[in-house]
């Protein structure tokens, strides 16, 4: 049957929490109620929470880098990335080079109604064309509107934060987010491998071979 201490302790916990919520201020201003600061909740539509930089909110597409290699689409567990493209001829990279065949993306859709936000597509992309953005406000009244096309996906690029520094002891290299929208007049769709490091380029080449091998 009830004994005092346990019951009273419980009352103490709730009372203490109420006091902390209502009077979070210390020192001279202890008695000024300020529940806005004392509470842990966020009044959502009025104030917004900032997710961490790595948060997987929405996928942004850096279209210039995309070569329609289909790797993302293939490694998607939900089959929710749809890509179509066509080939064009691009000028050689340097003087004396040969004219290259380049893939141009016509369609790059991600169906967020199906997406499971696993991030595999971002990870497998060998050309740095896909990035995570922590933005989360893109709910729609109609489920069909959750299919973001390449224009919509490119718009998210502005919200992509820089990659974070690592804790000491890490041997990871901090990646860079490519600049967006600075170079409007440059010939469109430079291959992303151009400005990546040699290791990445190698990987990219491998992936391209793979893509063409599978396509043949």
């Amino acid at each position: 049957m009830p004994q005092l201490p346990g019951l009273l302790k419980g009352l103490g916990v709730t009372a203490r929490t109420a006091m902390r919520t209502l009077f979070p201020k210390r020192g001279m201003r202890t008695l000024i109620p300020a529940p806005q600061q004392g509470s842990v909740t966020v009044q959502y539509p009025h104030e917004k929470e900032a997710p961490p930089d790595r948060a997987r909110g929405v996928i942004a597409l850096h279209e210039e880098n995309c070569t329609a290699c289909m790797l993302c689409s293939r490694s998607c567990p939900d089959w929710c990335i749809y890509i179509e493209g066509h080939k064009v001829k691009a000028p050689p990279r340097r003087a004396g080079g040969a004219v290259r065949s380049v893939n141009v993306v016509d369609r790059f859709d991600i169906d967020y109604a199906l997406c499971m936000y696993c991030g595999i597509c971002v990870e497998v992309c060998p050309f740095d064309a896909l990035f995570w953005s922590p933005e989360y406000e893109y709910s729609e009244p109609h489920i069909a509107d959750l299919l973001h096309d390449r224009i919509r996906l490119s718009e998210w690029m502005e919200t992509v934060p820089e990659f974070l520094e690592y804790e000491p002891g890490s041997e990871q290299k901090v990646r860079k987010v490519p600049d967006f929208g600075t170079d409007d007049f440059a010939p469109k769709r430079q291959l992303g491998a151009d400005d990546a490091g040699p290791a990445r380029k190698l990987e990219a080449d491998g992936a391209r071979e793979l893509a063409s091998g599978a396509g043949s």
Partner: protein, 394 residues
Amino acid sequence: MSPPPTASALREQQAYVAAQAADARVNVELDTGDMTLNIGPQHPATHGTLRIACQLDGEQVISAEPLMGYMHRGYEKLCEVRTYPQCTTLINRIDWLGSFANEVPFILAAEQLMGVEAPPRAQWIRTILFELSRIANVSLFLGDMGVQVGALTPVFFAFRDRERVLNQIEEVTGGRFHPNFDRIGGLKDDIPRGWIAETHAVMAKMRGFCDEMEDLLMGNEIFQTRCRSVGVIPGDVALSYGLSGANLRASGVDWDLRRDANPGLAWDQVDWRVWTHPDGDSFARYWVRLQETREATKIVDQLLDGIPSGPIMAKVPRIIKVPAGEAYVSTENPLGEMGYYVVSKGGLGPFRVKIRTPSFSNISVVPWVMRGTYVPDIITILGSLYFILGDIDR
């Protein structure tokens, strides 16, 4: 700190059941009839879509039969058509409150088949995230148990403080609930700068939360009246039903896969202990989980201080193909033993994945333990067994 465990709980329960059975016989003579009460599939106590079909005599349970499958997603079949990296996405969603911990045994099984071992730094960070998801998962239980027995406030405390842990997980993995961060051969990324200090602070907060729960709920006499001698599961019954995790340890069986079958994570590098309780009742299960949460914060603190430097990925091919073979790896997940029996025939994806989930076995004891109890006890027992619906239905 620890309330004296009473070994007489089982005897009490048996006497109680015997008395109830005697009552029930009287009722049979009077032919008062039974009532079927469906608890669920939509019911606040089943936190999910579990249905328990109860035969009631008044408020007393004659039989209780869990019926599930309302959320059966067929993960074992789905895994068969996915590649190994794609599987972790699904596996995240089995026990959705401790997702990272779900990934680990699967990845370990695949690594075992491939003969790959993750570098030490990855192992340590894995262990840290594993324990963080344990804290996130179990702290919700600590509050939720309050709601099951009628106290509103603890669950809000639990949500409040769990959020801090989830934030830490999200800062590393990018996902609050579905990290999808573990990779065959290591981890997707390293931890960001400043994270270790923040996590230390959060761990201190979580210990405060445990103290608060002890004062607010566990020490409360009403809570103890509700939970002691309710739903007693003796150790041998628990073993026979395959109960695992805190449920098993609360029945006095000293068994923790982190200590006894450590598959290579960093638990053996730090100082911690396994908590057991001899009673096997609902209170014991709560008590063990509370101690374990506290212990987990200590594990995390020690691990954070000792993360070795180095790479976080072993050398694995870019396209992962697992050699033919079979492996069963299980770890001590927040809910109990979660194991993956992975059969590979050498393709990009597994040939067969048997997912041994803790909740499935934990809940299978329900028909046994609920006979002769009262309707409110159903809720207490269900709450204290602590299941996640995704973990039952897969």
